[in-house]
């Protein structure tokens, strides 16, 4: 398949390297040819790829491959290290001014997602206790102001606009006054999308920058951008001196090579990533995690963090005790479902699990609606039934089916699934014991 993920591609390449004994120059070069094609197909810029390959090849042919790791493992490690290095090794945050309001200015090409990102950032900082003010300075695109007003309302954040007759400089100055008066400690300015080679409009941005003196200029870039990502980010950076980048539409199936290119060319960190259509779908960008995701190791850390922030720790411990003692009931199951719902759409979670090749998942659509159905069925059970599923006879099942608006077959299927899950949990907990004794090894660490 041409459109396998970069992760899948690299995994394939390294499979060839595994178990071949020590690496020689020829093996490394062969692997690097594959890595090169994979990176180019992932839209990483040609020059960036060239440098990357040279650096990794240099490191791979030499001492490091002779260490205790298997040859495949050491190459993965080197590629991973270099990828991480390329994307910047630390996560960056927004610097807030000691004298509020802090001003953030959003810039970028048309259709990269500036207005939506303004709404997302507004909500993000509102959750952190800030009082953001969104400012509508896109005076060109029809209904752009209206769009910002709508997302502002959805996010519960104030929006400032003066129509499309005044200049962005005048609008933002008035917005600054408005913010100072109304106690907004953060100003997020939406600007019109523009081409990086449109001198007149780039000049407009420069004037805006000079008059409002923003603490932060964020360049919004579509993660699907191709080879041109380098020119775009370089031009914006040269003209305006951007502070960072927001990478949007990462919930698509793009391999996102643009992320690598932008970082390599501008040296500026990617600070946030847009990961869905909802306003809450924004998260900090973690370069190291992205690197391991590219390598097919999954975005394990993101997953763990997501789980930690939504799953009640006490409940989790109680659950573990129950699983071990085989007392897992439908009530716990329901609890689990609700916690899972808090973690976000299932499809997003699946993306983060390591060892699952994106290609394989193409036909497996995780449907959140299925969860709603399961919940309805469990909710239609009596307390007694939930605690002791063995009493679920024919007439009880029929009643549950009617109560939840589903068929008896569906009810049967859920009960069967539940029993299987219970069994699976038992195996897991047995396996856990074996792990501790070192009997078994995780399949992907062989």
């Amino acid at each position: 398949m041409v459109f396998e993920s970069l992760a899948g591609k690299l995994q394939e390449t390294f499979k060839k390297l595994r178990g071949r004994g020590k690496l020689n120059e020829k093996d490394v070069k062969e692997a690097m040819r594959e890595v090169r094609i994979a990176l180019l197909e992932a839209d990483v810029n040609f020059k960036v790829v060239k440098e990357f390959i040279n650096r990794v090849t240099e490191r791979a042919i030499g001492l490091e491959v002779l260490e205790s790791l298997t040859p495949g493992q050491s190459v993965i490690k080197i590629v991973n290290d270099e990828l991480t290095k390329l994307m910047g090794s630390t996560q960056s945050k927004i610097e807030f001014s000691s004298k509020p309001p802090t001003v953030i200015m959003m810039v970028g090409l048309q259709g990269s997602g500036k207005t939506t990102t303004c709404g997302k950032l507004g909500l993000h900082f509102k959750k952190q206790g800030k009082r953001p003010l969104l400012v509508a300075c896109d005076i060109y695109r029809p209904a752009a102001i209206k769009q910002l007003q709508v997302v502002g309302e959805q996010a519960g954040v104030d929006v400032f606009s003066l129509g499309d007759k005044l200049s962005p400089v005048d609008i933002s100055k008035a917005a600054f006054e408005h913010a100072t008066k109304n106690g907004n400690d953060l100003i997020i300015i939406d600007t019109a999308g523009r081409l990086h080679i449109n001198e007149e409009l780039m000049e407009e941005l420069l004037q805006l920058k000079e008059s409002i003196k923003p603490e932060e200029i964020l360049l919004v870039v579509d993660s699907m951008t191709g080879q041109d990502a380098v020119n775009v980010s370089d031009s914006f950076n040269n003209k305006l001196g951007i502070g960072g980048v927001v990478l949007t539409k990462l919930d698509g199936d793009t391999r996102g090579g643009a992320a690598l290119s932008i970082k390599a060319v501008t040296g500026k960190p990617i600070k946030f990533s847009g990961i869905g259509e909802k306003l809450a779908d924004i998260e900090p960008f973690y370069p190291d995690r992205m690197a391991s995701r590219i390598l097919g190791m999954g975005d394990m850390l993101s997953l763990i963090e997501k789980a930690q922030s939504t799953i009640d720790e006490k409940k989790a411990m109680e659950l573990e005790r129950k699983i071990r003692s085989q007392q897992f009931t439908f009530e716990d199951f329901l609890d689990q479902l609700q916690q899972m719902k808090n973690m976000g759409p299932l499809s997003q979670l699946v993306d983060m699990i390591p060892g699952i090749k994106t290609g394989k998942l193409k036909n497996l659509e995780v449907d959140d609606k299925e969860l709603v159905k399961i919940e309805a069925i469990i909710n239609s059970m009596t307390k007694k039934e939930r605690q002791d599923p063995t009493i679920l006879n024919g007439s009880r099942r029929r009643r549950i089916a009617i109560g939840s608006g589903s068929s008896i077959q569906e009810v049967n299927r859920i009960i069967k699934n539940f029993e299987q899950t219970k069994k699976m949990f038992k195996q897991f907990s047995d396996m856990g014991k074996d792990f501790k004794k070192g009997k078994k090894r995780l399949p992907f660490f062989s």
């Binding site: 040609f46 752009a144 709508v150 019109a192 579509d222 191709g226 041109d228 775009v232 698509g252 199936d253």
Partner: protein, 322 residues
């Protein structure tokens, strides 16, 4: 961003003057950046190479790949050039540009592809988020309006905030009818209403906006299917023209988009937007090669008449001619 919204009237008045010439000029202008880059690069190669060696092949590969043509297609083109240099015993390496042009033309075809002249017709614009669907609709509606056709635009993007208002501004600007429902409404229902209205008003062209959707979101793609079902059932007499809008700035993901949308819709052609930047849009060559989808229109600027027919020869010439 639609800068011309402030100068619409001017551009409308001056539109018909020197139309034929302006199309080529605009295209040339829009692609001039590409042209300069490529010829500069190719010339610099000729300056330093005496034979078609590995280093020169690498350079050719760089030119093609940085145009977003894609690794596979680039390799294919280069293989063909190598073959021809050998077979035709070409020693004058300055001919490489001509050979490159010929090979690219042989992939995209010489035929000029443009919108079909069958009326009544219904156009549906589809694509991922932010490629320029709504703006392109404004420009296409303007084209037909200029030809004296009765045009209806349909705000079937009921999802994105203010998408309806955006199309509304356009419909007022070019003075065509707009059919809309509330934000969050059923897109298929809006299109149903539009078809009824088109029938009673005897409209020539109905142009439907749809919400941008990432092609890997199954539920949203299903929603599109429903739209086509309504059109097939309610408006069989109309010629259907389904246009996939692609952003020239997008890289290899465009192929994935084209493939996924092609699976659920009988796409007639591609509208390639934002060619007035530095992006080369080479991906359309790979898309033609792999999926046989022709480009019908290209966006080369922000003025209302900056959506042009795609003329392969001009396109390639503008890429390579000094």
């Amino acid at each position: 961003m639609d800068k011309f919204c402030k100068e619409t009237e001017n551009s409308c008045d001056s539109y018909n003057k020197d139309k034929k010439q302006s199309i080529y000029q605009k295209l040339k202008h829009g692609l001039s950046k590409t042209r300069e880059d490529l010829s500069k690069k190719i010339n610099s190669i000729f300056g330093s190479f005496k034979a078609l060696d590995d280093e020169m092949i690498d350079e050719l590969e760089e030119i093609l790949i940085t145009s977003d043509i894609g690794v596979e297609t680039s390799i294919q083109i280069i293989e063909k050039i190598k073959d021809r240099v050998k077979k035709e015993n070409i020693t004058d390496l300055s001919k490489i540009t001509e050979i490159l042009k010929e090979e690219i033309i042989s992939i995209i075809g010489e035929k000029v592809n443009t919108l079909e002249n069958s009326f009544p017709k219904i156009i549906v614009m589809i694509g991922v988020n932010g490629v320029g669907k709504t703006t392109s609709i404004g420009k296409i509606a303007y084209k037909y309006k200029e030809q004296g056709k009765k045009v209806i635009v349909v705000a079937a993007d009921t999802f994105r905030a203010a998408a309806i208002e955006q199309l509304e501004v356009w419909s007022r600007r070019i003075n065509v009818d707009l059919i809309k429902h509330q934000e969050g409404g059923d897109p298929a229902a809006v299109i149903y209403d539009a078809i009824q209205s088109a029938k009673s008003k005897k409209a020539d062209v109905v142009i439907c906006d749809t919400a941008g959707r990432l092609h890997n979101k199954k539920n949203l793609m299903e929603e599109l299917k429903k739209i086509f079902k309504v059109i097939n059932r309610e408006y069989p007499e109309a010629f259907q023209e389904i246009l996939l809008v692609l952003d020239a700035t997008t890289g290899q993901n465009s192929i994935a988009q084209a493939r996924a949308f092609k699976e659920i819709a009988d796409i007639n052609g591609i509208v390639l937007t934002k060619l007035d930047g530095t992006a080369k849009g080479g991906i359309v060559i790979a898309i033609k090669e792999e999926l046989n989808l022709p480009v019908k229109l290209i966006g080369v600027g922000e003025n209302i008449d900056d959506l042009q027919d795609f003329e392969p020869k001009d396109f390639v010439n503008a890429l390579f001619i000094e």
